[in-house]
Amino acid sequence: MKKTLFTLQFAFTLAVCAFLVVPVVLSVLAGLTANYFIGIKSGLTLRWVGEVWDGYQDTIYLSIGIALACLAVTLVLGVPAAYALARTRSRLGRLFEELLMLPIAVPGLATALGLIVTYGALGSFRTSWTFILVGHVLFTLPFMVRSVLAVLSAIDLKTLEEGAASLGATFRERFFHIVLPNCRNGILAGALMVVTLSVGEFNMTWLLHTPFTKTLPVGLADAYASLRLEIGSAYTLVFFMMIVPLLLAMQAIAAPRTRRFARDDGKLETM
């Protein structure tokens, strides 16, 4: 009885794995096959990847550029904000934290339309890549703040800072030598999340982009709609090669961390 139950559940889980992985494998194969309609026997080729590279490499550069700029902005805005939120824990702080999460709950389409009706008339801003950057920062900032806040709430920040202050450390010294090193893991996890989400963001970007500011997912949508299956697949393959290393890195650092200098009540929030 127990054995059959195990086998059934195993088979079910395996089927779910297949549902998720088979299309990925098919798409990778299609991107490397000379003619997908005929099949693998038509031969393997890098021709499609080459065509994608020739036609769309600027979208790849733009996506990487926006992701890095987005990371820089979320670090500058998010880490100090998370620190302030961890220190205050007031009602106002809670409210701000709540508000900050809204761009994740509200569909990207609505956020993008809001930006367009408010700032769309500012021509040079509307047509620049920074217009897309603003949308990406809105969407990724909550992840950076939450990730850093989770680490900061798990350590006894107050005691650490008081200790340093009693030894004569200034606020600046405490922030850079006590706070930042302690939330390194949170910053790293948040940074990977921010870059991954920014590289893949489409819902907002599709409305925010112009013909001169096409990101990778925008190019993907273009290719899916108008080009042959092999090129769409090759383009997807390029996207996978960018995103999968980020994912693996995220899984690696999400592995259980060792207990750090924990608060007295023993409450240790994990992410």
Binding site: V16, L26, P80, I104, T111, V145, L197, N203, L247
Partner: protein, 264 residues
């Protein structure tokens, strides 16, 4: 508190202000403020709303059932190849909606695997990627990875002794699932379900990749904005859409406590 200021200013300028503008623009069209009621008074918008909510509800139920079975199984058993399975199940975690749409095309599109297999079995070329069914499949694909992770984390926190106690008192496996495991997982399932639902209601990329004639609300908003240039109506509809997704998450949070957030 001054450290909050940069983030607060950015947020006020680029989110609070635009959302207020969006609300005002929504009422500035030919219909005036009744544009906000159009989602229920206009037959075609209302139909799109029903289709959107229907696909989202179906996605939520299917994703929760699939993820609960696979997630509990993976957390409760040790066997060779398990970590590989977990990696495979979380691989699509960072795929955007457009790519998920393409995955559906690989499976159920005109040159898709399902069609090839159905033809080999002597049937017709089975193609359903470019319909509501394809959209449903895409949303389930998108939601399974994050939901399985939530279920696994929640299962880890369940006390296995409760299940042993139930078994030793003679409960059948089915009773153990219904009376011990499911109640224990309930908060996690509600939270994950709300995220599934909210993402399926608001997502745009998958529908965009699959077909432009799938009438779900995000596609209607997009069409109103680009093809009809009816900015007021698209603003009103997207404001309502945002309210629906926010409400779904807020209700879930009030039921389960403060750990709900969406992604995607």
């Amino acid at each position: 508190m001054t450290l909050l200021l940069p983030a607060a200013i950015f947020f006020a300028a680029f989110f609070i202000l635009p959302m207020c503008r969006l609300f005002l623009v929504g009422g500035s069209g030919a219909m005036g403020w009744s544009a906000y009621a159009a989602i229920v008074t206009d037959a075609s918008y209302f139909k799109a709303l029903l289709a959107t909510l229907g696909v989202a509800a179906a996605t939520t139920v299917a994703t929760l059932v699939i993820s609960a079975i696979a997630g509990v199984f993976l957390q409760r058993h040790r066997f060779p190849g398990k970590s590989l399975m977990v990696s495979m199940l979380t691989l699509p975690l960072a795929f955007p909606g457009v790519v998920v749409g393409f995955m559906v095309i690989m499976l159920a599109g005109r040159q898709g695997l399902i069609g090839v297999v159905s033809q080999m079995l002597g049937g017709d070329n089975l193609v359903f990627a470019y319909s509501l069914l394809g959209l449903f499949m895409g949303y389930v694909y998108f939601s399974i990875p994050r939901t399985i992770l939530t279920v696994m984390a929640a299962t880890e926190k369940l006390d296995p002794r409760l299940e042993e106690a139930a078994r030793s008192l003679g409960a059948s496996p089915w009773r153990v699932v219904c009376d011990v495991i499911l109640p224990g997982l309930k908060p996690a399932l509600i939270a994950a379900g709300a995220i599934c639902f909210a993402t399926a209601v608001g997502a745009f990329g998958t529908a965009f990749t699959l077909a432009t004639n799938i009438n779900v609300l995000p596609m209607v908003i997009y069409t109103e904005f680009t093809l009809s240039a009816n900015i007021a109506m698209s603003a009103a509809l997207s404001f309502v859409l945002g309210a629906v997704t926010w409400l779904a998450l807020a209700v879930a949070r009030s039921l389960t406590g403060p750990n709900v957030a969406a992604a995607g």
